[in-house]
């Protein structure tokens, strides 16, 4: 049985203009334990809604979401989410941001800090433990947010366009760092992006969503072993294939 299961999810909400938006309809997919799953799709196809439902922040109108066989009824301790940006606590320095999740589990400051230090190191933030979010660039802030999520040690890591606001160099570097981490820790990752390139670099499998209402259009396994060369023939062919599916959706 798959680790994460979405079955026939329906979700409608009312937007600011008081119109009903059918965000997700008949959304069904599985994700295996330890799988790195990327989700791409046009803007407004319900990618974020999907993640929020998986995180237990929002409830589906109907259908079932299961994690490890249990119905998801709210926020669960084995799941966490990395937002697109600006989710750090501005009154806490880097160390105390990263240690936040551990603070909920252990009273001992020393244990918290030594556990957190490992992820600060992994994300290349050593030397910035005492810095506050407003003193960091967007890319560094995002690395802190990822370190914070990892220090919480989730089984399921949800990521909502975490590199969306970053410049391309930072983006490439963080993709690499995330892959290294995933290979080391073998978390199950659900990663939403709107760049095809990013999805191919990262994923075991890519889900392509269509919009109005949002559901899964195609599921494509990414064959080539990592690290994947962006200029290789297989990479480019896959890129074109996904692009064609997306273009068909948009038209």
């Amino acid at each position: 049985m798959a680790f994460l299961q979405f079955e026939n999810i329906e979700k409608t909400f009312v937007n600011e203009r008081r119109e009903e938006v059918h965000a997700l309809s008949g959304l069904t997919f599985d994700c295996q334990k330890g799988e790195f799953l990327c989700i791409v799709g046009p803007t407004g196809c319900g990618k974020t809604t999907l993640l929020r439902i998986a995180a237990g922040l929002d409830r589906a109108d109907s259908g079932t979401v299961r994690i490890g066989g249990d119905d998801v009824k709210g926020i669960r301790s084995e799941t966490t989410l990395v937002f697109q940006q600006y989710s750090l606590f501005p009154w806490r320095n880097v160390m105390d941001n990263v240690a936040f999740g551990l603070e909920m589990r252990t009273q001992d400051k020393k244990t918290r800090y030594s556990l957190s230090r490992r992820f600060i190191e992994l994300m290349g933030l050593t030397g910035f433990e005492k810095a506050y979010p407003h003193e960091l660039s967007g890319g560094m802030q995002q690395r802190v947010a990822i370190a914070r999520a990892l220090a919480y040690d989730p089984v399921l890591l949800l990521m909502d366009e975490p590199f969306g606001a970053l410049d391309i160099r930072t983006r490439y570097r963080l993709q690499e760092e995330l892959l290294n981490l995933w290979q080391e820790e073998r978390k199950t990752i659900l990663f939403v992006t709107h760049t095809i390139d990013e999805a191919i670099v990262l994923a075991d499998r890519i889900l392509i969503m269509r919009d109005r209402p949002g559901r899964i259009e195609r599921s494509i396994s990414v064959g080539p072993p990592r690290p994947r060369d962006r200029r290789s023939k297989a990479f480019l062919e896959l890129h074109i294939k996904i692009r064609e599916v997306l273009e068909k959706i948009i038209n």
Binding site: L57, F83, S87, F89, P90, M104, P133, H134, E135
Partner: protein, 272 residues
Amino acid sequence: MRSLLLGILLPLIILFVWEIAAVQVNNPTLLPRVEAVAGRLIHPFSDLLNTGSFVRHIIVSASRVILGFLLAALVGIPLGLLVGRHLLIRQIFSPIIEVLRPLCPIAWIPFAMAVFKTYTIADVFGVHYTSSLFGHIQLGMLFVIFYGGFFPIFLNTVHGVKSVKNIHVESSLLLGADQRRLFRKVILPSALPAILTGLRVGLGISWMVIIAAEMLPGSDAGIGYLIMFSYELAEMDILIASMILIGLVGTLLSYGVKWISDRTSFWQAKER
């Protein structure tokens, strides 16, 4: 250094114009000379008009303010946190607060005098040393200071709680926070800068209200009382010296709270 020099320029001009005017007027019961007022100010411990020294009057006024202000904070902050967090409580409190808020605390002074008469803290707790400080802290004055300080503290706290960012709340819940931790580790630190702003404004208003309250009949001490008393005896040098002291103490109080808030809310101004 430059800003210090520029800042001191205008006070010097005012002193200069005042001195010239005082020499021209040549009537100390109308406008005393600068050195007469300064002469009063450099002896803060000397008795004035048989009522006690500047320092004593300021201590009396400040204790009234601090006590009333602490009460206002003690009620205003928790109530603000509750009202900010819970819709039901907000719906209960909002209408009455909206009506009471524009009602100036000074308008309450006659009411407070009528209700509380001249009862003091000493009367309430049965400690009757007439010379003690508590004997000068009238309940009516405490009430109006409480009233004046309460609204800025309460309203800023509500505002602080309501403007806690949803992404911070959700992030903390997704990192395992329960309701208690959410409150202690996210809501409270998030709202702290606004709460401190409320305290600063509240303290400023309390300090204004006490001066007004002390000027009314039934008052027996305090810097506001000293102003009124020196007016009645046409002691303009004491009157002006008192006004200067009120300004200085008010500034000091304001900077005290600002000092604290700058150290705890440093992240707020720079947050993107």
